[in-house]
């Protein structure tokens, strides 16, 4: 979780990732940011993120991203 927050901070340092749970819905993250985060996640956790995972619910908060990473790590 800490590493995920670090990655997110690298993209938007001004956001409070403890509280914010509408990163996509509030357009805090645009498509460029999401793909940047996805690239970092794939490198960091050695996971494969595909088109079916690219839905707002998976990227709205640090916790949602952490859940996605855990699911993909188990596969």
């Amino acid at each position: 979780m800490d590493r995920i927050k670090e990655i997110l901070k690298g993209v938007h340092p001004e956001v409070d990732y403890e509280k914010e749970d509408h990163l996509i819905d509030k357009r805090i993250f645009d498509s460029f940011d999401v793909v940047t985060v996805v690239g970092e996640l794939m490198d960091e956790f050695d996971i494969e993120i595909t088109a079916e995972h690219m839905i707002p619910e998976n990227f709205n908060s640090a916790e949602a991203i952490s859940r996605l990473v855990s699911t993909l790590e188990e596969e």
């Binding site: 940047t36 794939m42 088109a51």
Partner: protein
């Protein structure tokens, strides 16, 4: 067999009677026989291509799924003895084998499509190249082949299926004949929509009881589709082709009007055809995906493409854009560029490079001529400009205290998008790229020679044709406005039965009386039916 013919109406009626009269477990068989009968009405040779696609995709899906099952079994049996690293290596090995099956299937089927669609245009370019640079008149002969019915649509649909099977999104269809129905389902074979197996299968194979409401609802949709095709599209077609075939001799205002009318024509033609497909399908209780969502109310080109030909756009997004965007090489390249201090540029690489390919391929999908590639790339450039200029646009609106949600701003953005998309259609109407640019230039010349009293005389068109088309477009606009707040059919069905009959009778009368059936008219030719 055209969607707009008595033969088709009779064909659907017979199929419906058999569908609901025979035992429910035979319903998918009725649909398969109907689909094959429909397909057989064209050149029987076309069957070779659709059978090749069906069988090759079926076999590859079986091989891919078989490996997945064996992998699962092996990992289950050895879960206590294998290390995490060993499991990972084993999975990678299986994935590599599955990838080989996937790629073989894609190469074979997209190869067939590419060969049939682009072989002759490639030969033409090679011959031109040899003539220009080597003065060679030894031309390669063209191949004698017609594009099989619906090949672009069923190829995309099956390739989406095999990719989904590869990613384990759902289980494959085990019965070859049931799978053949998914590939050839007759309402969608002509011009889409492009369905996903996971969404279509439940209603395609499910058993259904006769439901009058479903038949009624489907029938309304068919009549509305015929209205869009026969009253709007085909009427506007005669105006558009009159102007565009002799554009140099008309004032710019005519050409400008023809450009905007062509947008309405192609919308009426394509979405009308889709309405017929969805309406027929609904009568059989099969739910096809929507392909349009009021595209002319879009406030940007990106939004327009999320509302126009939705199933093609979503196909490109899922099977071309994301696989490229999330490709490790592109991601690494983007990271390298960002580490060089070019943060903004680097972040755009995984979006814009895939988007460039999506638009290149979208252009090629629409036609083999170079003008379609130019059209696709113009779309790409406009979308990139729209994205990059958004902060500037925001500054301007803030500076002048303009509210994005105000009617004025929304109307401005809708009109701007409609105008841009209409001008891009010039590549569609004109025979070549140079003709499209010439038509664009001509839109803004010769306005002084415009004389409103001579319009119809100059166009050799009856004034009534024009007025009917304009009134029909207004009617369509009102319908689309109402539709923003929910299904119009649901509202109609909530009215007293007598009123429902009046509405339906009025619509049928309008289609019968005002549908365009002029000399040389060929209702069979849907524009998107040629893909």
């Amino acid at each position: 067999m055209s969607f707009i013919s008595m033969d088709f109406a009779l064909f659907v009626t017979v199929a419906l009677i058999l569908y609901y009269a025979l035992p429910k477990k035979c319903q998918w068989v009725v649909l398969l026989v109907a689909s094959l009968t429909f397909y057989a009405q064209t050149d029987p040779k076309d069957f070779i291509y659709i059978i090749t696609t069906t069988v090759s995709t079926y076999i590859c899906a079986a091989l891919i799924e078989d490996r997945s099952k064996k992998q699962k079994l092996y990992l289950e049996e050895n879960k206590d003895t294998l290390s995490k690293e060993e499991k990972k290596q084993y999975k990678a090995k299986v994935k590599a084998v599955q990838k080989r099956f996937l790629i073989s299937c894609l190469v074979l089927n997209i190869g067939i499509l590419a060969y049939l669609k682009y072989a002759n245009i490639s030969i033409a370019y090679i011959n031109l190249f040899r003539l220009t640079y080597f003065n060679s008149t030894e031309f390669i002969p063209f191949i004698r082949v017609l594009l099989p019915l619906g090949i672009s649509f069923y190829t995309f649909q099956t390739m989406g299926y095999i990719i989904d099977i590869y990613y384990g999104k759902y289980e494959r269809e085990r019965n070859l004949f049931r799978f053949a129905l998914y590939v050839s389902f007759f309402p969608q074979i002509l011009q889409g929509p492009i369905s996903r197996f996971g969404n279509l299968a439940p209603s395609l194979y499910g058993e259904k009881s006769f439901d009058f409401n479903r038949i009624r609802s489907g029938f309304y949709r068919i009549v509305w589709g015929l209205f869009k095709k026969l009253v709007i599209a085909d009427r506007l077609a005669s105006f558009v082709s009159s102007v565009m075939s002799a554009k140099e001799s008309y004032p710019g205002l005519y050409i400008l009007l023809a450009v905007f009318f062509y947008s309405m024509q192609i919308f009426g033609d394509f979405s009308g055809g889709i309405d017929v497909a969805l309406g027929v399908s609904e009568m059989f209780g099969v739910t096809l995906p929507e392909n349009f969502e009021r595209p002319f109310f879009s406030k940007s080109i990106s939004e327009y493409w999320q509302r126009w030909h939705i199933t093609l756009g979503s196909w490109f997004k899922d099977y071309i854009f994301y696989p490229l965007s999330l490709n490790k090489s592109i991601i690494r390249f983007s990271k390298k560029v960002r580490q060089m201090g070019l943060e903004t540029f680097g972040k755009r690489i995984p979006i814009y490079i895939p988007m460039f390919f999506v638009w290149l391929l979208t252009g090629m999908w629409h036609g083999s001529q170079s003008r379609y590639v130019v059209w696709g790339l113009f779309n790409f450039v406009f979308i990139v400009l729209g994205t990059e200029l958004e902060p500037l646009s925001l500054k301007i609106t803030t500076r002048y205290s303009l509210k994005e949600s105000s009617f004025f701003m929304r109307a401005y953005r809708v009109i701007k998008t409609f105008a841009l998309m209409s001008f891009l259609r010039l590549f569609d109407i004109n025979a070549d790229t140079a003709g499209a640019f010439r038509a664009f230039r001509l839109c803004f010349t010769g306005w002084k020679s415009f004389d409103i009293t001579k319009v119809f005389e100059e166009l050799s068109l009856p004034a009534e044709d024009f007025y009917v088309a304009v009134i029909a477009v207004i009617l369509l606009f009102i319908f689309e406005l109402i539709q923003r707040k929910g299904s119009v059919r649901v509202r109609i069905f909530a009215l007293p039965v007598a009123v429902q009959w009046v509405i339906l009778s009025a619509l049928i009368t309008i289609v019968s009386v005002f549908g365009y059936y002029g000399p040389g008219y060929d209702a069979a030719s849907f524009i998107y039916g040629a893909f």
